[in-house]
């Protein structure tokens, strides 16, 4: 397939948190607001006057100093973030809008609170409590929390306009990003997709880590390009897979899977687009904050949700996605030391093949995978097993 025009640029943007577009936005006088979790609505951090940066720690393979602070028995992702912060990689941040949604990222963010790591006198780290249910009680609680710990704090500290009009404006911009990314992602549903998982992952990530107003022109151009993109006459993939699981912000991981013959057509993981790039709908008579609350709670598929129908519903959601994206199998990954996904992965690995007849490859990985040999073997074996299954079913 013809290379996408901006892919190399996007790849460059992902090499560090303080990338070219972030620096440009800072020069424009905008406040950089860091966050880690989907439950911190990025749209509220993209209000006029500020921009959201979902934190990554690319190429962080040995978080040595962070390991002193957080031991070697915590998620590599959380430790890598701390390591990058200690290296000065996040000194551009004006605030960290934190959530206590998973223990390790919470501890990372507490280190930002306690230690003078971010060299910015204006820097603050504020925590928001997030409900475990999509109930009315959960929505009311979430709304109160976001108002007090995000909107009021931004207004108080940086004079950010947090009025309904400002939020509506941010929603409009956010929705355009979502439309474009969803449109680009929809080409994965084709029988012969015109975009690889690696390419899409790169595009999705830049939409998370770059100021929206600066990445939008590139996304628009990429969406236009995609309309004319022709697939390879002979596809270089053998099966189509969905990847689901814990935090993954490494396009290299997707590339590794695809190098084994499995095209990644759906990304149902933390930092992925399913969910993640649905447009926010503001209903009639609804305040924008209420719409944001409803949106982020309702779209979330995090294993943090504890309602019984939600727990089961997550498997149903995967099965529906698998049908929609015509996947041949699902790779369930969890980061080592991720407690949520350790259990979720067990359930997915057993229920999906048994009840939905979907082949599953269940793997544990590191945040940045250095020993790829083992993973490669697993993925290759999975691809072959799917092919065998197809032959047997065909026969």
């Amino acid at each position: 397939m013809r290379d996408l025009k901006h892919l190399i640029f996007f790849d460059d943007l992902l090499q560090e948190a303080n990338n070219e577009l972030v620096r440009q936005a800072k020069k424009e006088g905008l406040r950089a607001l860091g966050y880690t979790c989907y439950f911190m609505p990025e749209v509220l951090l993209d209000l006029p006057g500020c921009f959201s940066v979902r934190l990554r720690a690319p190429r962080c393979t040995s978080p040595d100093v962070a390991t002193y602070y957080m031991s070697g028995r915590t998620c590599h992702y959380g430790r890598s973030l701390l390591e990058r912060a200690l290296e000065g990689g996040y000194n551009f941040l004006d605030a960290q809008m934190a959530t206590e949604t998973c223990t390790v990222t919470c501890r990372f963010q507490e280190h930002l609170q306690i230690m003078p790591i971010i060299e910015n006198p204006d820097f603050f780290c504020e925590f928001t409590d997030v409900p475990f249910k999509k109930s009315e009680n959960g929505r009311e609680h979430y709304a109160k929390q976001l108002q007090a710990h995000v909107l009021d704090k931004l207004s108080e500290k940086f004079g950010i306009d947090t009025s309904d009009e400002a939020i509506l404006k941010a929603i409009e911009q956010h929705n355009e990003v979502c439309r474009l990314v969803t449109e680009i992602g929809s080409y994965r549903k084709l029988d012969n997709p015109t975009i690889t998982g690696h390419e899409f992952s790169t595009i999705m990530l830049v939409s998370l880590v770059c100021p929206k107003h600066l990445i939008l022109p590139y996304l628009r151009e990429t969406a236009e390009e995609m309309k004319k993109r022709e697939p390879d006459k002979k596809p270089n993939w053998r099966v189509k897979v969905m990847v689901t699981g814990s935090e993954n912000d490494d396009p290299g991981f997707i590339e590794l899977i695809e190098s084994c013959g499995a095209l990644v057509v759906a990304d149902r993981f933390c930092y992925g687009s399913l969910p993640g790039r649905e447009e926010i709908e503001v209903k009639e008579g609804e305040r924008p904050l209420e719409a944001v609350v409803r949106h982020y709670l309702d779209t979330g598929q995090c294993p943090r949700y504890m309602e019984q129908h939600e727990i089961r519903g997550r498997k149903q959601y995967l099965a529906e996605l698998a049908k929609e994206y015509k996947v041949d199998g699902i790779i369930v990954e969890s980061n080592k030391f991720c407690e949520y996904w350790s259990y979720e992965r067990v359930a997915n690995s057993l229920i999906l093949p048994r009840d939905f007849n979907i082949p599953v490859c269940s793997i544990e990985k590191e945040y940045i995978n250095t020993s790829v040999g083992q993973l490669r073997t697993r993925f290759q074996a999975f691809v072959e097993s799917i092919e065998l299954k197809k032959i047997q079913e065909g026969a």
């Binding site: 602070y69 031991s71 915590t74 507490e110 997030v130 009680n137 019984q308 067990v346």
Partner: protein, 533 residues
């Protein structure tokens, strides 16, 4: 010769002084069994035999008779590993916790063990009484009147139902208590859940809880299940397997993480209301506020006595409860909620406490260091405090988990009562300190002062992400504040990761090399107890 005889007679009558006891010589190989039980002098040995050993064996039989009878107990014993493999060895649990104890400490600490034994029997006998598996699949009246809930849902939530219904935690007796009494049992459950694909690193408490279900070793005694997100990520995550394997109506009564934020309390109150609403829908019963008040006020008396005990422990050397009895009893009664046995025990202990204070009895005369134990304790070695006192004179005055649930609950009106109940539930074990902001886990410094402790035993639960995520800051603070802190690595219920011998070795190393002290009882320095219960 005469002098020798005098010494022998004195030792026989009063028991050997601390430094001469050589308690380690009593163990048989690596079993933890005794060649013979301690001779504590005539008075204390016969007290132990009559009022602890015989009394508790008798008490166990009496409790089984009054809580359901021998037939259902035998059925349960033959069906459930956690019962048969663990609870028959209960008296050895007493032995381990009370090694070396004499006088008022022996008496007061043993009453705590008795109370926990009685309550454990009450719970499992009720489980068996309601259990469909022991009644040919039939759901009897007990089944329909029992609420099953996660062990981290505190019993006080169900006070309003006490006049008509029972609530029993699913994992407290089958898992939590077993780890202390016989740590062999839990290993089966951990291995079972890992055999279905769970990695080895999540919190082993939650692993074992899930493993109980994997091995189909949980009685079916209720039509519902109430789970919680207490204490942490793993507790949330385990509900995925709870839901699947229990396959019954399930509601989660979730608590906010940032529990000191005043904005969160309404959320908690509503969660409690919704759990009650769920019970009403599923079981046709509503909580009665008057009944709630009755039990809450009784429970408040326990809390007030607890504060008195803390006051004595913090400010005097007359506190007659050893570290393990203090820790286990506190977490047990506060998690379960008011039961008559707790009030009876407190009445007995109060008499002993008052006697010690009035007569100025130095209950731990060999104390060299007053220790504050912080973070999650090793369940398979909860009696490490007893060993530490006997070997090194380390007296564990207080521990982190004892400091949770520290609130006297209002009962004057429903709104205030519910508010306080919500606050109470937010301040549950482990999470009270470990989540909701780093300021909570760093309450260690004010508690060191409050309890006049000069040393910290820093429990280092290797699989607790919350605590592992902040170890470096603790190290920095210990150094800066010049505090003696011993890091005790462990894996909560799983003795295979860090054995008890390794834990002792770590403490020994610190005491020798840093504190430059000699042991009070050298026979306790190094012995193998890998097969011990």
């Amino acid at each position: 010769m005469k002098k020798k005889l005098k010494k022998v007679l004195k030792d026989f009558w009063y028991g050997k002084p601390h430094g001469e006891r050589r308690l380690g010589d009593l163990y048989i190989g690596n079993t933890g069994l005794y060649k013979h039980r301690e001779w504590r002098g005539v008075k204390d040995t016969f007290y132990y035999f009559n009022k602890i050993w015989l009394y508790n064996y008798g008490g166990i039989l009496m409790d089984i008779m009054r809580f359901g009878g021998p037939i259902i107990a035998v059925k349960g014993l033959l069906r459930y590993r956690w019962f048969g493999q663990t609870y028959l060895t209960a008296l050895h649990w007493f032995d381990r916790g009370l090694e070396g104890m004499r006088g008022e400490v022996l008496r007061a600490s043993a009453w705590h063990y008795r109370a926990m034994t009685c309550e454990t029997i009450r719970q499992f006998m009720h489980m068996f009484r309601a259990d469909t598996r022991l009644h040919g699949g039939k759901k009897n009246k007990w089944y329909y009147k029992t609420i099953m809930h996660d062990e981290t849902v505190c019993g006080s939530v169900f006070y309003g139902y006490r006049d008509r219904m029972e609530n029993i935690a699913m994992q407290l007796v089958p898992y939590f208590v077993t780890c202390h009494v016989n740590n062999h049992t839990v290993l089966h459950y951990i291995d079972a859940v890992q055999s279905i694909g769970l990695p080895g690193d999540p919190c082993p408490m939650c692993q074992a809880e899930a493993g109980l279900l994997v091995l189909d070793d949980v009685p079916d005694y209720s039509p519902v299940m109430i789970t919680s997100n207490e204490a942490c990520d793993a507790s949330v995550a385990t509900s995925v397997l709870h839901d699947w394997f229990l396959n019954k109506p399930l509601i989660s009564m979730t608590q906010p993480m940032r529990f000191n934020d005043p904005l969160v309390h309404e959320y908690t109150m509503n969660e409690i209301k919704e759990a009650w609403k769920f019970i009403e829908e599923q079981m046709g019963e509503k909580p009665d506020f008057d009944v709630y008040v009755e039990y809450t006020e009784k429970y408040n008396e326990l809390t007030k006595f607890e504060h008195e005990k803390w006051d004595v422990a913090a400010n005097t050397p007359y506190y007659p409860i050893n570290g393990v009895a203090q820790a286990l009893y506190r977490i047990y009664y506060s998690q379960v909620g008011y039961r008559e046995i707790w009030a009876k025990t407190d009445a007995k202990v109060k008499k002993i406490l008052n006697k010690c204070v009035e007569q100025k009895i130095n209950t731990f005369p060999m104390t060299r260091h007053r220790v504050l134990a912080w973070s999650c304790a090793p369940l398979y070695f909860s009696n490490w405090c007893t060993w530490a006192y006997n070997c090194w004179g380390l007296n564990v005055i207080m521990n982190m988990d004892s400091l949770m649930f520290d609130i006297v609950l209002r009962t004057d009106n429903e709104e205030d009562a519910l508010f306080d109940l919500a606050r109470y539930h937010e301040m549950a074990p482990m999470r009270r300190m470990a989540v909701g902001g780093h300021e909570h886990i760093f309450e260690i410094w004010e508690n060191l002062e409050r309890f006049n402790c000069d040393m910290v035993m820093m429990y280092d639960q290797l699989q607790c992400k919350g605590m592992q995520g902040i170890v470096g800051l603790f190290e920095d603070e210990f150094r800066e504040r010049n505090i003696h802190a011993i890091w005790m690595p462990h894996a909560l219920p799983d003795k295979r990761t860090v054995s008890r011998a390794e834990i002792r070795s770590i403490i020994n190393d610190y005491m020798f090399t840093v504190m430059r002290e000699e042991p009070l009882d050298p026979s306790l320095l190094d012995f193998d107890d890998i097969m011990s219960w």
